[in-house]
Every structure is written in C-alpha cells, then in structure tokens.
C-alpha cells in the first residue's frame, strides 16, 4: 500500500506503467487461481462473479487515475479530414488495443475453467461470453472516461469522479484497514463463497456475471436460455458502444447557469462588499462551478465516507468511523494546496490589482472560502457516521478536532498554494481529469507536516480529555480546538501574506513562464519549498516533453 502511494504520488509515468503491468499480471493470475482452487461449483460461481465485477469497476476507475485513455484526445484530430464518427470509432478501437485491455480479457477468460469443470461443451459459451463481457468492460471504461472528460460539466459526473478518487485516497490513507478486513475475509470467501442472499442476487444481475450464468444454463441443457443471456450481453454492448460514440459526436454540452437579471449583478448578498468579501464570493463561486474544484471538494467528502464505510465493515475498526468527518476537514488541506495553480494565468489580476491590502484580502478571502466550503461537508459526514456507528462518545473529540484541523489545513493550503504554485494546464484548455494540477507531490507532504504540527496543542488536550474522562476537560478541549484552529489559520496565513507581499509576481511568473525571474534565490524553509516544487514542476514538464518527443519519433519512424 505504501509503495503504491509513493508510486502514485511520484507520478513518474514510466514507473507507474511498469507497476501497473505487474499489478495487472498479478491480478490476472489471482483471478485464475481463485477459479481453480474453488472447492465447489457454487463457490466458484460467486467468487468469479465478484472478481469479474471488481474488474469492471477497475475498468471504470483505472483510466481516470492513470489517464492512459486520455493520451489521445478527440481535439487532436479536429483538423484531419475525418468525420467525427470516424474519429470516435478509432478512439474506441484504440482502447481495445492496450496491455490493460489484454489483462482484462485474460482475467475474464477465467470463466473457461468454470465451463471446463462443469461441461466441456459449454467452453464455446465461455469464450463467447468472455469476449462479450470484455467488450462490455472496455467500452464501459471508455464511456465513463468520456463522461468525465467531456462532461465534467455535469454535477453527476463530478460526483462519480469524486467517488473514484475517494476510493483511491481512502485506500492510500487507510489501506491497513482494508488489508485487515481482507485478510480476515478473503480465505473464507475463497473456501465458502458468498452466502446466498441479496449480495449474490445483485452480483448475478451485473452483466459480467451473465457468461457464468450462461455456462451453467448450458450445463443444465438449457441452451436457449444460455444464448439468450449472451444475446442480452451483446445487445448491451451495442448500446454502450452507441452511447460512447454519441458522447464523442456531441462533446460540448454547455452547462448553463440560471438566467440572472442584471439587477443582481452587483447586488447585495450577505457577504460584505469589501475586498475580502469580494474574494470570498469569487472563491465560493469557483468552488461551486469549476469542475476541478468541485471534484476536489467532492473527493474530500467521499474519501471520508469511504474510510468510514471500511471502518464500519471491520469489527475492530468500527470506532474509527466516527472520525470520518475529521478526514474531510483534513482533506481541505490537500484540496486547497494549489489554489493559485488552479486559477492559472488569471493570477495576473492579483498582480496588476495590487494595493496596500490586496494580498492580505486575497489570502484571507481564500481561507474563509475554504472553511465555508469544507466545514458543512465535514459536519454532514461526521453526523452521518456518528449516527451509523452510534458513537456519541466521539462528539466532544470531534468538536475539538474538526475546528483545529480545518483551521490548520486552511493555513497550510494557502501557504503551499503560494510557495508551490503548480499550474498544470491553463484553465481555458483543461479537458481531462488530471489537468488542473502539475506536480503536487511535495505539497501533500508539506500540508500533512504543517497540519500535524499545528494541531498538536489540540491533540494533546484531547488525549488528556480521553484519559481524564472529565467533562470539564472535554469542554476545555473544544475551546482549545477552536482557538487552535483560528491561531493556525491566522499564523500560516500570515506567513503566506508576508511571502506573497513580495512574491506575487513570481507566482505569476511560474504560471506564465514556468520559472521565476529573481536574481537572488530565497533562503530558508520557504525558499527551499518554493525552489523544490518549481524544480519538480520543471522535471515533470521535461519528462512529459521527452515522452511526447519519443512518441513523435516513434510515429515518424513508422
């Protein structure tokens, strides 16, 4: 798990790809082993149904995380004399020709074993079924990616992506919990299969399970039913392919806001018409309307929720679920660690709009907006999991810990945003799910480090409260937590303001020119962070450039 975390955070595409290949091969072998060692037909059925469903989910999640499917973008072909439909077909077909797709096919062919042990005649069904569900998984993968890439404009698309990222981050943060749940349950699963009940019914309804059902129907002599199942799967494939091509045909579905009357343009609102108020309002609108930012906040919620669910699943980890909301609060720090990078070259406004208080208003406004966006989410997730786990004992600790963490994270977020601005693709040209950020691996560690240090006072009082069990100390903990939060946000924000007071133009330079024009590099921790993040950004940029060149050379050589 930790190795995976490092690999993903480092974002070295070659290393990641190799790791992906190894992981894929291991998973294929695991699928076959599970099929072979299953003691009874019924166990084999439920295990394979479950594993195939996992492959389908993996197919949906995978491309977004690795952006492998996004290497070719439809826009690249706009100038070629090809019809949109032709480009869409070619893009879809290109998806089937990949190592990952090969792994999927190999795994799905594990149903051959099921067929062979039941009735060798049904192997025909197994092969057909595996091919059909292969088309299903790959097309679904492309469809989901297309929905996300082309239609990040829809709220639903953002939430789906949020769930995906939430699962991934939850796996990184709380992998030990999954591992512990898995270790206790997988052997039982492999030997006993799934208990017959709603879960198996749902699993059988998933199209990837239909080939298994067809094989069993064939074994029982009901070839008509078997063929019907395969035909249904084929029909579903056709629908999915059509849907995928349709997305490509009409990629731009403009998301329109509600019609507004001009009278409301500069209207009242509850926020003060001050410089800081202006920034808060602008930021809140960006958080709501910018798909990438909406994705960040949605990911935070789902990371908390997924960890909570994992925790509830294991008996020993259940109490942890009460703190899911705290995860959301902490995620503020990661979601907001690159605010200026997300604004991209729009930061020019902060440079030309400079006055005595502009930097202070900008930083404080961004901090308030972060709190306003994440506090309600942290509260909602907390309440849900307190209710689910009936863990009312945790309330005093949450009342202390959430304000402290939110404040510390809001401070750490603006500080890393200023020091390590990482523009990625400029706002107007963003299309894919990974476009908003460049290389933010160091940012994550800085945020984790800064938050951990600055919430230490609250943590200490919480430990004291837990040990003493005195309600007075619990109240004290809450007070300390709130004060701690304000102090951390104020302190880290203050450092940011002082830094940006002289460096706003450098932030813009990093976005616009990818470097800083300063003869005298800064010393100290801040300077070190600024230079390290810049170097990481440039290294990534160079690596991408090199990869692109290699690809070009390869195509030219053909």
């Amino acid at each position: 798990m930790i190795a995976l975390k490092f690999t993903i955070l480092r974002n070295t595409s070659a290393g990641l790809r190799r790791a992906g290949w190894i992981a894929g091969a291991v998973l294929v072998v695991a699928t076959w082993v599970a099929a072979v060692i299953a003691p009874t037909d019924q166990v084999r059925h439920s295990v394979l149904a479950l594993i195939f469903a996992v492959w389908a989910v993996g197919g949906m999640v995978g491309p977004v995380l690795t952006s492998g499917a996004g290497v070719l973008r439809a826009e690249y072909f706009t100038l070629l004399p090809l019809g949109r439909a032709a480009v869409a077909r070619a893009l879809l077909v290109s998806n089937f020709v990949s190592i990952a797709a090969g792994f999927v096919l190999l795994a799905l062919l594990a149903s051959l074993w099921h067929a062979a042990t039941l009735d060798p005649l049904t192997i025909v069904l197994a092969v057909l079924g595996a091919l059909l569900s292969w088309v299903f998984v790959i097309t679904l993968s492309r469809l989901v990616y297309g929905l996300l890439g082309a239609a990040m404009r829809s709220r639903l698309g953002i939430e789906i992506a949020g769930v995906q990222w939430g699962i991934l981050l939850a796996a990184m943060f709380a992998g030990w919990m999954i591992v512990s749940v898995a270790i206790t349950s997988i052997p039982a699963l492999l030997i006993q299969g799934l208990p017959v009940g709603p879960i198996t019914l749902v699993l059988d309804a998933i199209p990837t399970s239909w080939p298994l059902l067809a094989i069993e129907a064939g074994t029982a002599g009901a070839w008509g039913e078997a063929l019907l199942l395969l035909l249904a799967l084929a029909a579903l494939d056709v629908v999915l392919v059509a849907a995928t091509l349709a997305i490509r045909d009409d990629p731009v579905v403009r998301r329109r806001g509600r019609p507004r009357s001009l009278g409301l343009v500069a209207g009242g609102g509850i926020l003060p018409a001050t410089q800081t108020g202006a920034v808060i309002l602008k930021e809140l609108r960006q958080w709501r309307r910018d798909p990438w930012r909406a994705l960040e906040s949605s990911t935070a919620v789902w990371t908390g929720a997924v960890i909570g669910i994992f925790a509830l699943l294991g008996s020993s980890t259940a109490p942890v679920a009460a703190f899911s909301g705290l995860i959301v609060a902490f995620m503020l720090g990661l979601s907001g660690c690159n605010l200026y990078g997300q604004d991209g070259s729009a930061v020019w406004q902060n440079v030309v709009g400079e006055d005595e208080t502009s930097v202070r208003s900008d930083v404080r406004g961004r901090q308030w907006a972060l709190i306003l966006v994440f506090l309600p989410r942290a509260i909602v997730v907390s309440v849900v999991f307190l209710v689910l786990g009936q863990s009312w004992w945790a309330v005093p600790y949450l009342v202390a810990a959430i304000p402290a963490t939110l404040g510390a994270a809001a401070g750490a977020a603006v500080l890393t945003s200023a020091l390590g601005v990482s523009p990625g693709v400029d706002p107007r040209r963003r299309v894919g799910p990974n476009d908003a950020n460049g290389n933010i691996s160091l940012h994550i560690w800085v945020v984790i480090f800064a938050v951990t240090i600055t919430v230490a006072p609250t943590a200490a009082v919480i430990v004291w409260a837990a040990a003493s069990e005195s309600p007075l100390v619990a109240v004290l903990a809450a007070v300390v937590g709130v004060l701690n939060g304000f102090a951390a946000a104020w302190l880290l924000g203050g450092i940011t303001i002082r830094y940006l007071g002289t460096h706003m133009v450098d932030v813009f330079s990093r976005i616009r020119y990818g470097r800083v024009f300063r003869e005298d590099p800064d010393a100290g921790v801040l300077g070190w962070i600024a230079q390290s993040t810049l170097k990481a950004e440039q290294t990534m940029h160079d690596a991408k450039q090199k990869e692109r060149d290699q690809k070009l050379a390869k195509t030219a050589g053909r």
Binding site: G257, V265, A273, K282, R285, S345, F517
Partner: protein, 272 residues
C-alpha cells in the same frame, strides 16, 4: 542604436530626467529568457493624452515589454514609470493609475461577466453602488448584457467577448493610463467601433492609451503616435507622420524591419 534612431527619427528632444512629463516611460528595459534577448534595452516615452500604437512583427517583444511595463514580468534591467512613478519600486501607486488588458491570459473563468466586474470593482475598493452602476453600464455599452442575462460564464465567451470583458475590467477603476495588448484582435467591426469610441473618449479626457498590434492599417487609423519594435528594440518612434515619413506605415515598417524578397520560383504550384 535605439537612442540614435529615437532622436533622429522623432526629431523631438531626448527624454529629460524629469520623467513625470510622460504618461508612461520605459527606460532601458531588458529581458533575457536564458540566452535569448527578448527585449533589448528598450526605451519608450508615451506623452499624456496620446493614443500610442506599438507595432512589430510576431515575436518582436511587444508583449514582453508591456508585461514589464505593467509589473507582470520582472525586468532583467531597466525601469518603467507611470506618471513618473516607478512600477517596480512603488507598485501600489503605479498600479492605481494603470489599467491593463493582457493578451491570452485567463480570467476567473467560472464567473459571469457581471460577477467578474463586481468582484474586480470591490477588489479595487470601489464603493458598492459605484461598482453596480459602472458594471451595468460597461456591460450594456460593450453589448455583453445579453450574455449576462443568459448567465454565460466568462469561460464560455468568444475571444472577442473576452477582449471586451477584459477591457471593462481595465477601465473599471478609472485608471489614467491604459495598456492594452492586442485589444482589437478577434473583435467584430461593430464592437471595434464601440471600442474605439470608448478609447477616444478616454484620451479626450486626458488619459493615455498604449496598444500593441501587428495590424498596421488599424494603428495608422487610430493612433497619433507610434513605435515600431523589432527584435526587442524600438526602431522608430514619434508622431504617426514623423514615423511614416511620407510613406504608408506598412511600407515604413517593412523598410525598417526588412522582409525577405519573394523568389519567382517559390510556390509556383499554388495556383493549381
């Protein structure tokens, strides 16, 4: 070289040490990108109330020079003054007087035009009712009110509309010097007239406008003073008539910048 050409071509007195005589003054501005000299000791003086056009081929350093002039790019050497205030040592005072329209940069893409102006007005500390009145008027005059009613976000604007909303942000806080990078690019003829009318009113009121462009005819038609820039330096500057010296601006430009002679044999196939 720059100094020579400036004084001989313009026939005006060389810049005095009293810099506040100019609305905008660039002194020895220089920017290196690695080994490449993008702007090479560029000097430029923009008088008060003038409509100043900066022309040059693509890659001449116009945008780079203007970026340094308005505080967006740190110069390797030299200085820029707005009404005699040094942009880099007293940025707050200088930026108060400057209105800027950069070329090809993002805006807060997820706001509508009206929301953007409201944000910008309040960010620049204008009173609430002033922001409301000016935003509404700018949207109406620049014909962006319909898009506003539809709730169109800036990110969905066409290039021309982006120019217009960008100009509105540049004008909102009543600057004294406008620096506009390619303001007429992608603007339709009707909007261009509106734009010209606004800018003329601005200069009539004593404000100064600096635009960059590579469309000679446009500059010739609009500007009373021009500077021809190539390879990061000013080749000629002065009033329009001084610079074009009897010829058209385009001929003068080609004469100064140099254009490759077309070969008779090249592209003979193009006519089919």
């Amino acid at each position: 070289m720059t100094d020579d050409s400036a004084s001989t071509l313009t026939g005006q007195s060389p810049p005095t040490s009293e810099s506040s005589g100019w609305a905008l003054e660039l002194r020895g501005l220089r920017r290196l990108f690695g080994d490449k000299v993008a702007v090479n000791d560029l000097d430029l003086q923009v008088p008060h109330g003038s409509f100043f056009g900066m022309v040059g081929p693509n890659g001449a350093g116009k945008t780079t020079a203007l970026s340094m002039a308005v505080g967006l790019l740190r110069p390797s050497a030299g200085a820029a003054f707005v009404h005699g205030v040094d942009v880099w040592s007293d940025p707050v005072e200088a930026k108060r007087r400057l209105g800027v329209l950069p070329d090809g940069l993002a805006l807060p893409e997820r706001l509508t035009g009206g929301e953007l102006l409201t944000y910008w007005g309040r960010f620049r500390k204008l009173p609430r009712d002033v922001v409301a009145a000016r935003s509404r008027e700018l949207l109406r005059v620049l014909e962006l009110d319909e898009a506003e009613q539809l709730g169109t976000l800036v990110g969905e604007y066409s290039t021309g509309m982006r120019k217009k909303i960008g100009l509105a942000t540049a004008l909102l806080h009543t600057p004294r010097v406008l620096v506009l990078d390619e303001p007429y690019e992608a603007i339709d003829p009707v909007s261009a007239r509106v734009l010209t009318r606004i800018l003329r009113r601005f200069t009539d009121g004593g404000g100064s406008v600096v635009i960059s462009s590579h469309v000679m005819a446009l500059v010739e038609q609009l500007c009373d003073r021009v500077a021809i820039v190539a390879e990061g330096a000013v080749l000629a500057t002065g009033t329009l008539d001084e610079v074009r010296a009897g010829a058209s601006l385009e001929d003068r430009f080609v004469e100064l910048v140099g254009a490759p002679e077309p070969e008779e044999t090249e592209l003979t196939w193009i006519a089919g």
